[in-house]
Symmetry: C2
DNA sequence: TTAGTATGTTAGACGAGCATAACAATATTA
DNA sequence: TAATATTGTTATGCTCGTCTAACATACTAA
């Protein structure tokens, strides 16, 4: 019951970003430092610091003074959820809409916090469907869309 | 040149919401009152008031004391842009992902401010493509997706 | 092993966007 | 048209997330 209450904390999009950043940095560098989190999120050290304090109080992060930031199990769960959303969105933007990776990542970052669960689930299933359609090659309907884009953008 | 500067003001998502609300209310009621804007956006009157002051200073809204709020030409342009984004997103969520109208509108509201132009354009073209596929009936690929959802959600 | 640099922390300020409470104007209706 | 109810406005304060400046610690290399 108490754990549920923990997990039901509604995090702001900023706080989700910090958790995500820590997870990403740990995957990349094995470790997450204040400075690198700041660079990733384009904020200064003191902002990172107060975020880490908040997240530590919420039981999502462990942060020893002058040391690395790490995720608790709960924090990892939240971070993974955000990353999953991020990835689905990025895939939709690149694999379906045909956007370049950078723009896709940018937009995924911006909206990943705001999609409702149901919408996210449907989008996930949509990507699974698109995957199931592709047997070695781009399915006809998607290829049709790409031709349609060509046409639209040539005009 | 000066007008361009006007239009290049980067509005916060809140301010976009206020402009959108005014446009919606004008379409619905012919007129936009402080109270109705507040109800639509779930904020109190003083919040509406300060937003209107800000938007009036920015040349996007006209608001006589104790009177109705109205959009300037620039304000209308912004509002229409937001509404267009909103509608495309709503259509994607309902017509493609098959979500119910309410959830679709909710999520559209939340993310309409954050989609990049390019992403939005592609999504627009995608909806045009989906439309072009449907000659009286749901196109096979979309129907396939709906069967795929059934399958996934039955399990 | 100490001097200098890089990184982390604290204190304090600020703007955006919201709220409540008190007040002012307008609308309604008896 | 006076009394009351509704709506709009002002003053003020709060929280969140950011910043800068000053200070503390840790790292690095001479």
């Amino acid at each position: 019951m108490d754990e549920k209450i923990m997990k039901d904390i509604k995090l702001s999009s900023s706080m989700e970003d910090y958790l995500e950043a820590i997870a990403v940095l740990k995957k990349e560098n094995g470790v997450a430092r204040v400075k690198d989190i700041g660079n990733l999120l384009n904020v200064k050290n003191p902002s990172v610091n107060s975020a880490l304090n908040f997240l530590a109080d919420a039981g999502l992060v462990v942060h020893e003074r002058y040391g690395y930031a790490d995720l608790t199990e709960d924090g990892m769960a939240v971070a993974n959820n955000v990353i999953e959303r991020h990835n689905i969105l990025t895939r939709f933007f690149t694999e379906i809409l045909g956007l370049d990776r950078q723009k896709a990542e940018e937009d995924a970052c911006k909206i990943e916090h705001f999609l409702g669960d149901e919408t996210f689930n449907r989008l996930t299933i949509f990507m699974q469907y698109a995957e199931s359609c592709r047997e070695g090659k781009t399915p006809e309907w998607l290829d049709g869309f790409y031709r349609f884009i060509q046409m639209k953008e040539k005009v």
